[in-house]
Each structure stands twice: as C-alpha cells, then as structure tokens.
Amino acid sequence: MTRARRGLLLVAWIATVAILGWIVDRRLVIGTDLRLFMPSPQTPQERLILEEIGEGPASRMLLLAISGPDPQAAADTSRALATALRASGEFRLVANGESNLDAIPDSLLAYRYLLSPTLDDAALDAGFLRVQLEDRVRDLASPAAGFLEPWLPRDPTLELLKLADSWLPARQPQLVYDVWFDSSGREALLAAETRAAGFDPQGQRKTADVLQRAFEASRTDGNLRLESSGPGAFSVLMQERTQGEAQWLGSVSVVGMVILLLVAYRSVPVLVLGLLPLVSAGVAGLAAVGMIFGTVHGITLGFGFTLIGVAQDYPIHLFSHQRRGLDARSSVRALWPTLATGVASTCVAYLAFLFSGVRGLAQLSVFTVTGLAVAGLTTRFLLPPLVPDSSRDAAASALLGRLWHAIAGLPRPLWLGVATTIACVAYLALSPRPLWENDLGALTPVPPALLARDAALRKELGAPDVRYLLVIEDTDAESVLAKAANLDPKLAVLVARGLLDGYDQPARYLPTRAAQEQRRAALPDPATLRSALDEALGTTPFKPEIFEPFLADVEFARQLPALGPSDLAGSPLESRVGSLLLERGDQWTALVTLAGVKDAAALAQVAAREPGTTLLDLKQASEDLVARQRERILWSLAVSAVLLVIVVFVALRDASRVRRVLAPMTLTTLVIVALFHAAGVSLSLFHLIALVLAAGLGLDYALFFERAAEDPAEQRRTLHAVIVCSLSTFLVFALLALSTLPVLRAIGITVAAGVVSNFVLALLLTRPVPGPTTDGR
C-alpha cells in the first residue's frame, strides 16, 4: 500500500468515526432514570411498585430547612421561597405552614358545606346555630376578633376555618411568624413535592437548580442557609459524587495508560493508532444503542466504555508482534483466529444481558457487543495497513527472554486448580450467609450524617415514610375514595395507639360524591334556615341583617353538583388530591401516605381486611424484584457460558486445549466470588458485570498464551502483549478500586483482582505444553 493510499485510509477512517460520532451526539438522548436498571415489571403489582418507587409522593418530597441567626428573616424567606417555588412549575405542592384562606377561590367557597364533615353530626338548626353564634360573640371579644370578624357574616359556623384546619397535617411543626419551624425554633421548614420523579437525577438536578435560584432571590439575609433533603436531593448528590470520582479516576488512568503504551512501544503513531479501534467501537456502540432504543442511559454509557476498554487489548496484540521487515497484514492473519475467538466468545458472554429483562442491561449488551465486534474487525482489516514498520522486536528484549525462561520453569499445578475449584464450590455451597446484595441503595449509599438529618427533618415535618405506602385500587374514582374514607377511622385508631404518627389520604380533601350529596341533602331550605337563624339570634347581640351572605351561600351550596377530581383544577386542592389520587387508564388508585410507621404488621393487618387495599413495603418489594431479576440474569449467563464453551471448542477443536483455555477464567471467577464472600461482601449486579468483564479478559489472555507457538521469539512477543494488556487493564481498575463509592469500588476490585488472577493462572495452567522440539533445547 502506498503512502498516499495509507494516508487516505487513515483520513477516511477518522472522518467516518467523526461523522458518525457527530450524528450520535446530536441524535442520542441520554436518560438518567435509575429504574431503567431495575427489572421490567411483569405483573400489575410489580408495575405499581416500580411506579411508586420513583413516583410516589414520598419519593418526590423534598424537605427544606432555612436556618440563620435571625428566625424572622428565615420566616420571611420561607414565605418568599414558597411563593417562588409555587410559581416555578417544578413543584406540585409547596407547604410551609402558611394557611391562607384567601387562596381558596371564590367558586369553591360555597363547597365548604359539601366538603366539611361538621354537618354529618349536626344539622343547621336553631340549636346548633345558637351555640355557634354564642361562641362567635366570645370570639369577637377575644384577641382573635381581628381576623375572624371579616368571615362571620358569610360563615358564622367557621366551616371554612375547620376545613382548612382539617387539611393541615395531623401533626404539623410549630408555627413561628406564621410558618413552620423546627422544635428548637431556629429553622424554618418547608415540604415541597417535586414534579420530577425521585429517581430521575436529571429532572431532580433541574429542580435543585430552580430551588437554589429561588432561594438566592428570596433570601432576606445573607447569613441564611438552605438545606434540602429527600430521595430527589440524594439522587442528585450521589450522581454528582459518582460522576466526579469516575471522571477524576478516569483522567488519571488515561494518563497512566498513555505512559504505559509509550514505554511499551516507544512510538507516538502507535499510541494514536491504538486508540482508533477503541474510539470506533465506542461510536459504533452508541449508534447501535441509539438506533435500537432511541435513548441511552447514563449508566450504560459509563459502564459500556469500561467494558469495551477490553478493545484496547486488540491492537496491543498486533503491535507486540511487530518487528522489522514483517508486514502487519500477514502478522494479523496469523493472530486473527485467536483474536476472533476472543472477540466472539466475549460477545457471546455479553449477549446474556440482552435477555436479562432489564432495559439498561439490554442497552449495555447491544453497546458492548457492537463495540467489541467493531474493534475486532477494525483491528483485523483497517489497522494493519496503517501500522508503521517497527525497528523494535519485543522478542529481542533480554528481560523478556529471562522472564519467559523463568516462567517455563514454573510448575504446572493442575491438581491445585482442581483442589481450589472444589474448595471454592464447597465453601460457597455450605456458607449460610446470603451471597447476594438485594438492596440497590447499598451501592450508592447516602452518607449516614445526611440520612440522620433526613430522618430528623422528616420527623419534624411529619413527612411521609419513603418505605411504606397503602395503595387502594378500583375501577373508578368514587370507589377508591369510598374505600379510602372507610379506611380512615381504622388508621386513626392506629395513630391513637401510637403505632403510626400520621397518614394522609385523598378523601380527606375530596369526599366521595355520595358523601357530598348526602351533606347537600341535609342543608335546610332558605325559609327553614332563616327561621332557625332568627330563633338562634334572639339571645345574641348580633345584628340580624348581617348574616344574609351566609343564607345566600347555603342556598347556593344546595344547588351545587358534587365535586369530582376533575373539578379541582386551579384550586389548592388540585395538587394535594392529584398526588394521592391517580388515574391510570381504566384503573383508579388512591395512595395513603404514612408517617412514622412503628408497626408495619398492624398496618398490614388493617390493609388485609380492606378489599382492594395493599400495604406496599417498597424496600422489601424492590429487593424481591432485584432477586427475581438476578435469577433471570444468572440463567442467561449460564446459557451464554455454554455458548462460550461451544465457541471456544469450535475454534480450538481439542478438549485438552479447551480445558487449558477455560481453566483460568473459571477458577478466577470462583476464587473471586469465594474471596468476596469470605470478606463479607455481598455481590450485586455490578459485581456480576465486572465478573463477566474479568472472565472475558481471562479468556483473551489464555487464548493468546495457549496459541503461543513453539517459536520462543513468538512466545516472548505474546508475553509482551499480554503483559501490556493486563498491566493497562490492571492500572485502570486498580484506580477504580480506590474510589470511595462502593459501586465503583466493586467494579474496580473485581476486575483488578480478576486481571491478576487470570494472568497468573494463564501462566501456570495455560502456557503451551513443551513439545518435543522445545524439549530438545
């Protein structure tokens, strides 16, 4: 190939990758909803659980605390912030204790007689009115007169006030300067329900920005501090920490990699060429995921690039076999069967994730398989013509020669492999501890100090529990509301017994139509009401004529149709009812949020007696889901392990060779799993992915070692390649193992340990059996 044609090839390659990369960058949407890495729901129950985990009112709740030296400033800021947040559109509900009766639209005022339960036990007759009016006279002589007086002509029974009081949380924080404060009186508290789902870090990030800007604009004092807590705030925090650390460790490992490759090959062009298959793999993988799924999850991206890092090894094998006078094209033809076996078997292993039933893993699978295939093919067909002549021959290195000689003298402890396998399998089978970690949260743990703070704020605010939730389902809104109303007194009993701090349910804000109609029917007609009022007024100092607005309101209420969920638009009730009463297709769901659950069993008993009512334990349910999901993944992995053996067998066609190639990765996997278990580490999905990656690496090392021909120079070149490959991989993952975040550490430790173990075992068990020719030397 001429110089010009080589240049053309290089430019065309780079241009293709760049254009594809540009298209991918423009078209691909990056998703961040963590539930993509949870199993796809199979039953309606699972669907509900997955929805509630990320979208239930509790998971959307942000607890806010404004603290500073001056409580009055904190209170003023709380009011301004609440107003700004309500206007921002990012929040469904913002509560800070302000009860503003003026916020109720005029059109809904008359509905107080249909919404308030007062008249269920009393009629608007002369006796009831007299008691009420006498009380009002006393109110007028009390310090409360100022704010009650304007309401009296319209609402002498103070129905609206009772209604507003009943809408307040059962146990609300103390009011200071008319807004919620913690019990020490130093921090103003707010509870805000975000529109973004709790496990959508991207949406929560945007919400957090809006919150911060609103706070900066509302603060009345430079010394004030805003804290926010809750699932949404945590998911933003953890995503930032994970990204920050992954980026930092990634940059360090890139530098290490560059130095390593420069030391190994002493050539900048080789370094640059070595990157081309990897970059092509990444771009092709993204394009494939984009085409099939439309979006790619942020985690898929992060993991995917870690997994296809293996592709960096492919050109290394080629480079290590270069020497003066050898055309890379003939060299690659010799390497290709081994390389192809490695690529094909690794791809087969990753195919398992395609059938895992988890969308995020399916994406990961498509990304990795496409990427590795592209890296393999470009290394085979595009790279060789571009490889510059090398004056260095790895085989000429005296150091490598001595190393290989020493290795040749190593024992081949096959019995040790068998013994280790038996020991590991027996240990794992007999250990009583669970092998797996089912708690997804354990991998991105929120710092304990923040969790303690969250629990304290949650208690102060009486905010709903993030773990337990009662769910009521039926075919229409009326039925679920009726069930919720029916459940209410039973929950009240639990509260009275101290088993529960509080609860919230939609019928508290929106009674059933039946209840409203019953109350409406109980309202007296104008003549009856007027005579009852006159009779009641007889003994009070009130002027009789002032209560005309009251008479008009009651008469108006008598003509009102009962309120339904759709009539609440624009009222303060809309958002409250909206988050507790959900319509999903032809199914209606009422959620009963619970605060301070002290006895889940008692709740479960109450739920069991109510038809269509379930107590969801989101933690337990998600762990069950994770366990079921893992079972499925393990089965797929088992199938792909069989396929992998078939691929290797087809390539090598010799049982003893197949055994020697598969022994290191099998042993490594077993030993790592056993060591983790012995160290008390529970395995997670991420360990599993890392184990598959380590197994893929081990297979490659073994394949190349096994292939090493009987020519000692060729053996040394193979040793050189495998050392460079394993060192570079070890470097990257050992750095990850230093991470403070368990998810990164899990992957780092697993793969780094896997690289070491695979390398050593490949040397011990896989290196070629000295044939008669080598024997003679």
Partner: protein, 170 residues
Amino acid sequence: MEVRYSSLLEKPIVVSGRLEHREDSSLVRRVEWPYQEVTVLQGENVSVERAGSKPRRFTLDRAPELRGMLASFGAILQGDRLLLDRYFDVTAQGSDSRWEITLTPRNDKLKRHLFRVVVVGTEDRPRCFTLEEPDGDGSLMALGVTGPEALPASLDRDVLHAWCTDGDGQ
C-alpha cells in the same frame, strides 16, 4: 373590664378579667366574667382557649392590631418612650394629674388595622386604653375596674371616654 365594639353587633360586649405578666415574659389575658377564657401571648404566638373547646392558635402576623396594642400597652406601662416612638406618632394633652395620649401608627401595615390608640390616665397610672380600628370597630380596656356595675349605664364610646377622663368610679 374590656368593652368591645363591632359593626356586627347591636350592642358592645363587656368582659371582665385580669392581665398577668408571667416570668417567662408571656402575657396572659384571663377573662373571668361572663365566661372563662385564657389567652396566652408568648413571643409571636397567641393561643386562645375557652373552657370546653379546643385552643385556637395563631400568630401576631394574623392579628396586626393586637401587635399594635401590645406595643403601646407594654411601652406605656414600662414608660418606654423609645419603643413607643418606634411604632407611633405620639401627641399628649392634659395635665400631669389627668392626661391623655394619642398614638397614631407609623407603619402602613399597622395603619390598615389600627386607626389610633388613646390612653387616658391619672398621675402615673394609665386608666383606659381605647383602640380604634379604621372600620369603626374597636375596644376599650379599663384597668383596675372589676365588675360591670362599675361602668356607666350607657356604653356609648363618648360616654365611656368621658367616664375615663373624669375619673368617675375611682
């Protein structure tokens, strides 16, 4: 004694009771006649509790006229001219033995709820606090007077004001 005027009422309401300063700096307004009621004002929080019903709690932000009343009351009883000047324009008339101070709120928010406070006193003792609200409602508190029989027969404001000024019933 406290007399409360309201446009909703045909005749004013009269209650009688006591004011106490507690050690924890809260102020307690205790109604003893014709019914029992206890109001506790502590810091910004107010709670009103009547026998047989649940306490009603609110903060001074909801009752600005009460805040004005408390400020004038506290300042006059303690002779704190600075505090008085912070909230009110002060005009005084009469002699040392029989005086009348008129307090007009300075800030707009208070002005919307409180027209003025008139305090009538003799020598070093205030006798009556009269609160006048912009809508014509208001109240009169006579200190040191117990029992409705001490008040004049007519509860007309002018009559009561004259009664306070003249020192009848003392």
